[in-house]
C-alpha cells in the first residue's frame, strides 16, 4: 500500500510538471493564428465551468444536490453584486456550512 502511494506521489508529480513545462515550450508560431488564440481563451472557460459544476453537484460518480449548492448560490449572488473574490469564497463557505450544520 505504501509503495502504491509513493508511486502515485512521484508519478503524479513528474507528469504534472511535464505537462506544465510542455505547455510553456510550445513554439510561439503555433499561437499566432487568431483561431488558436481564440480557442485558447475559450478552453479555460470550458474547463473552469466544468470544475464549478463537478465540484458543486457531484460526489465521485453520482450527482448529489446538497449544501454545496446553497454555497454556490451565495457565490452567484455575491458575483452579481460585483463582490471581491474573498467575499465570494467566504460567502459560499459560510452559507454552505450553515446549511450543512443547521438544516
Amino acid at each position: 500500500m505504501s509503495d502504491t502511494m509513493w508511486i502515485g506521489v512521484i508519478g503524479t508529480s513528474v507528469i504534472a510538471f511535464a505537462l506544465k513545462f510542455t505547455g510553456h515550450s510550445v513554439p510561439e508560431r503555433f499561437l499566432s493564428h487568431p483561431l488558436i488564440k481564440r480557442v485558447n481563451l475559450l478552453i479555460p472557460i470550458a474547463l473552469l465551468s466544468a470544475l464549478v459544476a463537478v465540484q458543486s453537484v457531484t460526489t465521485k460518480n453520482t450527482i448529489v444536490l446538497d449544501h454545496r449548492l446553497a454555497g454556490l448560490g451565495a457565490a452567484i449572488v455575491a458575483l452579481a453584486f460585483k463582490a471581491s473574490f474573498p467575499i465570494v469564497v467566504l460567502g459560499a463557505a459560510i452559507t454552505s456550512a450553515a446549511v450543512y450544520n443547521f438544516l
Binding site: 508511486i7 502515485g8 504534472a16 505537462l19 472557460i45 466544468a50 454545496r68
Partner: protein
C-alpha cells in the same frame, strides 16, 4: 520584480490566501486516505495542482491502483499545459525562470494574470508571479497544517470548505464571460460535465469540455 501595482497585488494576495487555505482540506483528506504527512506535503510541493492532488489521493485511497491514480490526476493536469500555452507569450521567460514559471502555472496564477489584461502586460506578469508564489507558499503551509491537524479538524463540510472550491472556480471564470458565446460555452461545459459524470471515469467530464471549447471556437470564428 519591479514595483507592484496595488490592485494587482491585492487581487493576487486575496486569491493566494483563500485558495491556499484550502490546502488544509487537502492535507486532512490526504492523511484521512492513508497517505503519510510527508507524502501529503510532497504532493503539494511537487505536483502543486489541487484537482490533480485530490484525484490521486482519492483514487488510491479508495483502493485504486497507482496507475489509475496517476492517470486521473494527469487528465486533470492537462489544463495546466493549456495554461502554459496561454502564459508563455505573456511571460517570455527562458531557462530556470521558465522551469519555475511552469511549476507555478495553475488555475489561479493564470486566472489572475488574464484578469489583469486591462491594466497592461506588466500587471499581467506581476499577477502571475505574485499569485503563483503566493498560492504555493500558503498551499504548502496549509497542507502541512491540515495533515498534522487531520484528526482535530474533522469534517471539511462543517467548515464550508467543500463549497469554497467551486465558488473559487466560479469567481475565476465569471470575469471571463463577456460575449454571449462565452456564456453559452460555460453553460454547455457545466451541463456536459454533470451529465457525463455518472458514465465517464473521473477527470474525463472536465477534460472533455476542452473539445466543446474547440468546437465553439471554430463555429464562432466564421
Amino acid at each position: 520584480m519591479s514595483r507592484v501595482s496595488s490592485p494587482t497585488f491585492r487581487d493576487s494576495l486575496s486569491v493566494s490566501l483563500t485558495v491556499g487555505a484550502y490546502g488544509v482540506a487537502f492535507g486532512a483528506a490526504a492523511v484521512a486516505n492513508g497517505f503519510s504527512v510527508l507524502q501529503s506535503c510532497l504532493l503539494s510541493l511537487l505536483t502543486f495542482s489541487g484537482a490533480s492532488q485530490f484525484a490521486v489521493i482519492g483514487v488510491i485511497g479508495s483502493g485504486g491502483s497507482a496507475l489509475s491514480g496517476i492517470a486521473t490526476a494527469s487528465l486533470l493536469g492537462t489544463r495546466n499545459g493549456l495554461y502554459g500555452v496561454l502564459m508563455a507569450p505573456i511571460l517570455k521567460v527562458r531557462g530556470f525562470k521558465r522551469v519555475v514559471a511552469a511549476h507555478i502555472t495553475i488555475d489561479e496564477s493564470t486566472g489572475v494574470s488574464l484578469s489583469q489584461e486591462s491594466r497592461g502586460l506588466q500587471a499581467m506578469r506581476e499577477g502571475f508571479w505574485l499569485t503563483g508564489f503566493g498560492v504555493f507558499i500558503f498551499w504548502n503551509l496549509f497542507t502541512l497544517a491540515g495533515a498534522l491537524g487531520a484528526k482535530a479538524m474533522g469534517d471539511p463540510s462543517a467548515w464550508g470548505l467543500d463549497a469554497a472550491v467551486p465558488a473559487a472556480f466560479l469567481g475565476l471564470v465569471w470575469p471571463r464571460l463577456k460575449s454571449s458565446t462565452d456564456k453559452t460555452l460555460a453553460i454547455l461545459a457545466a451541463a456536459f460535465a454533470i451529465a457525463t459524470t455518472p458514465f465517464l471515469p473521473a477527470g474525463l467530464p472536465i477534460i472533455g469540455t476542452a473539445l466543446i471549447a474547440v468546437i465553439v471556437g471554430l463555429r464562432s470564428a466564421k
